[in-house]
């Protein structure tokens, strides 16, 4: 009996000690950025043990919805907020939207017995995902991969079933490559894919590709490398075949600052440049610009500090996880946007300590 009481006391004490964090931040959204976000959260907690941030990887659509409903402190999405969503949030001045990282969307495939480097280009990829190219040994694919023997296997395109920023980046890229794709399927977080097989989250699509011979699915680079899924080399806007990597994604981001709109959103796909990977996108984080709704000044300051740290010191961890860090110009713009965070009009200190 005494031993039992002692054990229960120990468990209660342990449970109590976990709740030392003064400030709890809640974020949700994109599965695209989830590995990076988890790393940021744990690194930032080492820096400031009193701040515990929690990120739920539920998809960009879910992140936007949670942000609009104020159930999270910050939302993350690979698709920037559109006009309707800004209106729902109370106007463009009510939201601070900043890019925090750039990532690549790769077409991962599962071809048993194939050991070469698969090459694809935009129009062929668009036709594959529209179901027009049904077999791996189709002449259009063979034309790009001279000398490699492709199996006579049916192609199963794997897509996202949930509202996904990865889908937004991928379909936006394909819409620039094929007018037919733009008109039949369109570019959005959630589209009507013909046929194929669906999965929930980047994790779901990865699982579909891993378990289905002949599958091809669009996933973030980190997921492909982590799960050792081979992915195709894509032909970029300059006609060069480029493999996705932090370097080629950064190359895509170099033009970004010049193309940013008033809300710091810029398309990273289909950029010009010899070493640019064509299917890349930013992940954006949004917070309300007036944080007084939180009723907790320490929390508001923690949000501002966390975001500032993410766009500056947090970028050092990017290439370890196969993401591309923000360029200096983009960091400056993002920093300016974070400077708009206020508490009922009074600016919030944005030092990261």
């Amino acid at each position: 009996m005494k031993g039992l009481i002692r054990n229960i006391a120990a468990i209660v004490a342990l449970g109590g000690s976990v709740a030392l964090a003064e400030v709890r931040l809640q974020g949700a959204g994109s599965t695209f950025v989830a590995p990076m976000m988890q790393r940021w959260v744990s690194e930032y907690q080492k820096l400031r043990p009193d701040v515990q941030a929690d990120y739920q990887s539920i998809g960009s659509g879910g992140g936007v919805k949670a942000f609009l409903e104020k159930t999270v402190d910050f939302g993350a999405s690979d698709a920037p907020l559109n006009k309707k969503e800004f209106a729902q949030a109370g106007g463009v001045s009510a939201v601070v939207q900043v890019p925090v990282i750039a990532g690549a969307v790769v077409p991962g495939y599962n071809l048993p017995g194939f050991n070469g480097e698969l090459k694809l280009d935009g129009p062929v990829l668009a036709n594959i995902f529209q179901g027009r190219i049904a077999k791996w040994n189709d002449p259009k694919i063979a034309a790009l991969n001279a000398g490699l023997s492709l199996p006579d296997l049916a192609i199963t395109p794997a897509h996202r079933t949930d509202g996904s920023g990865t889908t937004f980046v991928f379909t936006s890229y394909l819409a620039t490559q094929s007018v037919d794709f733009k008109e039949r399927i369109g570019a959005s977080k959630q589209v009507e894919w013909p046929g194929g097989s669906g999965g929930k989250g980047n994790e779901g699509v990865t699982q579909v590709v891993e378990s289905t011979p002949g599958a091809i699915g669009y996933i973030e680079l980190a997921y492909a490398l982590e799960n050792k899924i081979p992915f195709a080399t894509m032909k970029n806007a300059d006609g060069k075949f480029v493999k996705a990597s932090p370097k080629s994604t950064s190359a895509a981001g170099e033009q970004a600052a010049a193309q940013m709109d008033a809300n710091n959103a810029a398309p990273l796909w289909n950029q010009h440049g010899a070493n640019v990977y064509p299917i890349a996108g930013f992940t954006y984080v949004f917070v309300r610009s007036d944080l007084s709704y939180m009723h907790d000044k320490a929390k508001a300051q923690a949000v501002a500090a966390f975001l500032t740290w993410v766009i500056h010191d947090g970028q050092q961890f990017a290439s370890q996880l196969d993401y591309a860090p923000l360029s200096a110009a983009v960091q400056t713009r993002a920093g300016q946007a974070i400077g708009r965070l206020n508490w009922s009009g009074a600016p919030i200190a944005t030092a990261s300590r």
């Binding site: 998809g59 079933t161 008109e183 959005s188 046929g195 699982q207 289905t212």
Partner: protein
């Protein structure tokens, strides 16, 4: 039959009915106060439960109204499910792009379109196929428990069968996704698909690709999930067959199988009720199906084609349905599912417990 015998039976029935002969507690003034309070609490509990059901249905109807207004009854027969807008470039009769005064192509924006036919089809086909697989096993198991198993084993075997019902459905989904689907995809489906290709009358059953995550796999998983329900209810229904019936058929020279067949015929409405209960479970099952159905909103004839059921559609899309119309369309699908489950359960109840069962007991 002499009139007197019928009336004795009806008197016996009335006496056996619950509540007959006991004093019903009264809520009127003058009755003992603690009794009245407790009676009031019991009444409020029942009313609360009924109110919950009414509230659920009315919230669903209210939230689905935008979809009713936009699509009308044709929502149930359209097969497009497109949550995004599409921009179509207008072309003239020759296929040339029409340009406006500034030289920009004129575009037409197609609004989102939703139609529930693919998911209704998916639910119907997976439920029907799962029953097709499960019912022979269930009825056979029930017959075994009633007619063959030694009495001391009946409880243990019943417990094992009902234990299948206690496994959480997500466990079934994970098993289906990681064990059954790859097995079907590697060994079973290619061979069956080849057979369908070869037999000329069955070409429509063949599919262009077999991923293992399709109607067939979902139906198998559902079949395993409904077997315990159908077995348990069938066993109880078969138990109600009076021994005079069994002894009578045996006395007339019936073999074991002929007697069993007569028993099944005797209880047929109860057995239909058991099957309907299984159907209600199969139609509503969400997580297990969502993981193995393939999540494609299309109608194909082949069982090796991926599909979507009403519940898996809701599981996949509801959390992030950002536009009001999308959410309303999903809630209209939820209402359709609710209506279907209600119909199945009412019919099943009527068949097993109510009019159908009573007719079976009294009519032969």
């Amino acid at each position: 039959m002499p009139a007197g015998v019928t009336s004795i039976e009806s008197v016996e029935k009335k006496a056996a009915a619950p509540g007959a002969g006991e004093s019903r507690v009264s809520l009127r003034r003058g009755a003992y106060l603690p009794d009245r309070i407790l009676a009031l609490l019991a009444t409020c509990s029942a009313l609360t439960i009924i109110l919950l059901l009414v509230a659920l249905v009315s919230v669903l109807v209210y939230a689905a109204l935008p979809s009713f207004h936009t699509f009308g009854p044709s929502f149930l027969v359209h097969s497009q499910w497109r949550p995004n807008e599409l921009e179509r470039i207008q072309r003239d009769a020759d296929g040339k792009v029409i340009k406006d005064a500034d030289g920009e192509p004129v575009t037409q924006t197609l609004p989102p379109a939703f139609g529930a036919l693919p998911v209704i089809y998916g639910t119907a086909v997976t439920s029907a196929l799962s029953l097709f697989i499960a019912v022979p096993f269930s009825i056979g198991a029930a017959l075994f428990l009633i007619r063959i198993a030694p009495r001391r084993f009946v409880n243990a075997v019943s417990f094992l069968i009902e234990f299948l019902a206690a496994v959480p459905s997500i466990a079934y989904g994970l098993w289906g996704l990681f064990v059954l689907a790859p097995f079907l995809q590697a060994y079973v489906e290619p061979r069956l698909n080849a057979v369908f290709h070869r037999i000329s009358g069955l070409h429509w059953l063949a599919s262009s690709s077999t991923t293992g995550r399709d109607i067939f796999c979902a139906s198998l998983v559902l079949a395993i999930m409904v077997i315990p329900i159908i077995t348990a209810v069938s066993r109880d229904v078969l138990r109600t067959v009076p021994s005079t019936q069994i002894e009578g058929t045996t006395a007339l020279g019936a073999t074991w199988w002929q007697t069993s067949w007569e028993m099944l015929r005797y209880c047929r409405s109860g057995l239909f009720g058991a099957i309907m209960l299984g159907l209600a479970r199969a139609a509503g099952e969400t997580m297990a199906v969502a993981m193995v159905i393939g999540n494609v909103n299309e109608i194909h004839a082949s069982p090796f084609a991926a599909a979507q059921t009403m519940s898996s559609l809701l599981a996949n899309e509801f959390a992030e349905a950002s536009s009001d119309l999308h959410r309303a369309a999903l809630l209209e699908v939820a209402l359709a599912l609710l209506a279907m489950s209600l119909v199945f359960n009412v019919v099943a109840r009527w068949l097993v417990v109510g009019g159908g069962g009573a007719r079976a007991a009294g009519g032969h």
